[in-house]
């Protein structure tokens, strides 16, 4: 009946059951609608609570555990509110807060990167690699071209890093658009390609390595003219540089892009339902590439800003979270912040505080072994991501609260909810 080689199409798969959406963005949107802001808060509280228990168990003392977390809190600098002052040299809380803000600005950007890709239905795990690319390119530009006008030099380095990272992320976008390669795989691979390339570039004998320091895989220093100025504190003492404001303005840019532009409309449509988007006349492939590129741009900007404002050279292999994990923490930030502009901002602040607080707050004190602190941070982070991924659990608990209330209400005569 049918020509050889032709098989008639089998019956179409069943319609989504009870509105179960197929796309990643749609699933995340449902969770956002259902839980609002409560679920993220519960997630974080739960994660911290479990961590307190972990520390208490290993230190055999609940009191020690609480003390430890108090140190973390002090480390964040949030207690600065009590005695506000602008003098970074004398006030420890002020200094802590300033460092927390620095950490936050990086995480804002890597979080926005992941969030933007999620909005288009893609999982950008490659933030770390894109961050590295931005960092390296900014370093290279910042090191070369000495004697250039400072403003131009800074701009050139930032733009260069951003664009390079955008192109790097674009590779994953192109692969997805042309051959349908899953972006999780491509971005993971790109991460490690960036890592090892950086290892070569900055390794002993590598092209970008600081030859005056021959045994250590450190990059060259960015020239003073190409550094981002500080607005709180001074350069020498690691003040807060204007990168913080750049990050904040990116939050606004993100919001505007997503909600107020045709680009954002297209990105959201493709993320929720690429078939309908195509039918509507939207070029799906172009948007996939565009979204990944913009996503990479955010992450690359983070790298560029860190290079130009923070420590101005980069030691490869630093296990310090600020450099080696920010891309991955960005995933947690975006998820916790539900891929929204404001959510990402708040989540970035939470993680920034957590990171700096445990690293340096706990690390500087003697409540518990400081190197435990590093790992504790990973554990907390892991728990948060785990619970976010499974906020179905938290959601169902939350929803059953409402159901219970309703049942109680109907059983008890004359009860009001």
């Amino acid at each position: 009946m049918t020509a050889p080689g032709q098989s008639p199409s089998p019956p179409a798969p069943p319609e989504p059951e009870f509105g179960d959406p197929g796309t990643l963005a749609a699933r995340l949107a449902i969770k956002q609608r259902a839980g609002g802001i409560v679920v993220p808060i519960i997630t974080v509280v739960l994660a911290i609570f479990i961590s307190i228990l972990v520390v208490a168990a290993t230190e055999h003392s609940f009191h020690t555990s609480l003390l430890a977390f108090q140190e973390i809190f002090r480390g964040t600098g949030l207690n600065w509110i009590v005695h506000p002052t602008t003098n970074l040299q004398t006030s420890i809380p002020a200094y802590n807060l300033s460092q927390t803000l620095l950490q936050t600005s990086t995480l804002i950007l890597t979080g926005l990167a992941v969030a933007f890709a999620f909005r288009c239905g893609m999982f950008n795990i490659g933030g770390q690699g894109q961050y590295l690319v931005g960092l390296l390119v900014a370093n290279w530009i910042g090191v070369s071209f000495a004697g250039m006008n400072p403003l131009a030099h800074v701009l050139f380095a930032m733009v260069g890093g951003t664009l390079a990272a955008a192109a790097y992320a674009g590779i994953a976008g192109v692969l997805k658009a042309t051959v349908g390669a899953h972006e999780v795989i491509s971005t993971i691979m790109l991460n490690w390609i960036a890592y090892w390339t950086a290892s070569w570039l900055l390794g002993v004998g590598g092209p970008l390595q600081d030859s005056s320091n021959p045994t250590s895989p450190v990059s060259k220093q960015v020239v003073p003219g190409a550094r981002l100025p500080d607005f709180w504190g001074n350069q020498g003492f690691q003040g807060v540089h204007i990168g913080f404001f750049i990050a904040l303005s990116c939050v606004v840019v993100f919001y505007v892009l997503i909600n107020r532009t045709t680009l954002g409309y297209e990105v959201r449509a493709v993320g929720f339902n690429p078939d309908a988007a195509a039918y509507g006349g939207i070029n799906v492939k172009k948007n996939l590439i565009r979204a990944m590129a913009i996503s990479g741009a955010f992450a690359g900007l983070a790298g560029a800003i860190d290079m130009l404002g923070g420590t101005t050279n980069y030691q490869f292999g630093q296990l310090d979270i600020p450099f080696s994990q920010v891309g991955f923490i960005g995933i947690a930030v975006a998820l916790l912040g539900r891929n929204t502009a404001v959510g990402t901002l708040l989540a970035a602040f939470l993680f920034g505080a957590l990171l700096y607080g445990s690293f340096h707050g706990l690390g500087a004190s003697s409540v518990i072994d400081p190197s435990l602190a590093t790992n504790l941070t990973y554990i907390i982070q892991g728990l948060i991501v785990l619970f976010i991924g499974a906020d179905v659990l938290i959601l169902s608990v939350w929803n059953s609260r409402k159901k219970l209330r309703w049942r109680w209400g109907s059983k008890t005569v004359g009860a009001s909810t």
């Binding site: 795990i125 051959v179 491509s186 691979m189 070569w200 785990l386 499974a390 179905v392």
Partner: protein, 412 residues
């Protein structure tokens, strides 16, 4: 009769292809394409020991044949495969020429029998983790957390060997912890239907944190003692030169990995339980309607993947390279290379095995080529990742994941 090509020959499976007459096989673009890729690699191989041709003629000739085959393949319709063969041919010529330029001494020290041994050694942890990954994904659950499970194995394996006095205890502990970690992941992915990639990423974070935390807690003030019981090597006495240097002294886990691959293949493709596992990964609802317990199978496969990954991870710390020491974040991406091997090998045990060998070769080569240039040899580490990118770009045919891979299943 399955798929046919334009000449009416049965090309539905490789078995069918092999039964076609030779002339027909040569006309089949898939055959010429793969042949082209292989010849390209061979072109480079000619210039290194043991053949070690010192003129550029041979590599160039063989490479040109590869390019020709590639072009033939392109014009017969398999474009990506054909261009892959062309690229392979070009690369082969280039590498062959490079090799002829290098000194014989360096070549000999780089390409000797220990290269084989090191390749197998580097590949061992990958093979274990990849087999685990295959079981998990074939049952329908993506496992990005292989990296974390390997890391758990690396730490707890050492701990067990240390406190338990023997590597056997270490092995059991590693397997156990790996299994438990996977069970946690399975709970979130299967029961709670959480997003599997997010869950896997979380497992990786947690593993780094947990292993680091307990490493500091348990060993900070009294480091891991020297002479912790290691995974033993299997010494085969009396093997002649090349064989002796290459496989005469491999680790027990390396031999175990060979057996594992065969076992995995048999289980997945020759047993009833394997059929059911694959059904769960392709069409869980169909499996459910014939009475298969999809949840149970997925739980079992994910847990198995954790056990295997952890054992593979233990090789890193307790094997010949690790010497009984653990380092923070020791796996450093190997779990992802294993995942790449699974994909590159098209979710088949032997495919993933050869992919792991290839990736292990890259690592071994990176080490050996340090004789040329310390820093440039680092770049060899990117090879597994670049190759996987090439694979997912569909150069080597389409990689087809199990149809329901990554989609949570819900009974009603």
């Amino acid at each position: 009769m399955g798929k046919q090509d334009r000449w009416g020959l049965d090309v539905s499976t490789w078995a069918a292809r092999l039964e076609n007459p030779i002339s027909a096989r040569l006309r089949d673009p898939a055959t010429t394409g793969y042949l082209g890729i292989v010849l390209g690699a061979f072109a480079a191989f000619i210039a290194i020991p043991p053949i070690e041709a010192r003129t550029i003629t041979w590599p160039t000739l063989v490479g040109l044949v590869a390019i020709a085959l590639g072009i033939w393949t392109v014009t017969r319709g398999r474009r990506r495969l054909g261009w892959g063969a062309v690229a392979s041919g070009l690369l082969g010529i280039g590498l062959g020429i490079l090799a002829t330029r290098s000194s014989a001494g360096n070549l000999n020290s780089a390409f000797d029998a220990t290269l084989v041994a090191q390749t197998l050694g580097f590949a061992t942890p990958l093979v274990f983790a990849a087999m685990g990954g295959i079981f998990s994904e074939r049952s329908g659950v993506v496992n990005i957390g292989l990296e974390g499970m390997m890391l758990m194995g690396a730490f707890w394996g050492v701990y067990g060997a240390d406190k338990g006095g023997s590597w056997v205890v270490g092995l059991l502990l590693a397997a156990g912890v790996g299994g438990v970690t996977a069970l946690v992941y399975a709970f979130f992915a299967i029961q709670l239907r959480a997003d599997q990639i997010v869950g896997g990423t979380a497992i990786n974070f947690l593993a780094v944190g947990i292993t680091g935390f307990f490493f500091v807690l348990l060993y900070n003030n009294s480091p891991i003692p020297n002479g912790v019981s290691l995974l033993p090597n299997v010494h085969i006495p009396g093997l002649p030169g090349f064989l002796g240097d290459s496989i005469g002294d491999l680790n027990i886990l390396t031999w175990a990995s060979f057996a594992l691959v065969i076992l995995a293949f048999l289980v997945l493709f020759k047993t009833t339980i394997g059929l059911r596992i694959r059904a769960c990964g392709e069409h869980p609802r169909a499996a459910d309607t014939v009475g298969i317990n999809v949840y149970a199978i997925r739980y079992a496969c994910v847990t198995l993947s954790g056990v295997l990954a952890a054992i593979g991870g233990m090789y890193l710390s307790e094997g010949p390279l690790g010497n009984g020491f653990f380092q923070f974040n020791m796996t450093n991406g190997r779990g992802f290379i294993a995942l790449a091997a699974v994909i590159f090998g098209n979710w088949r045990p032997f495919g993933a095995f050869w992919a792991a060998i290839l990736f292990g070769f890259a690592d071994a080569l990176a080490l050996k080529l340090q004789v040329y240039s310390d820093s440039a040899s680092t770049l060899f580490h990117v090879l597994p990742y670049v190759l996987t990118l090439v694979a997912v770009a569909g150069v080597i045919g389409r990689t087809v994941a199990p149809a329901a891979d990554g989609k949570p299943y819900s009974k009603q």
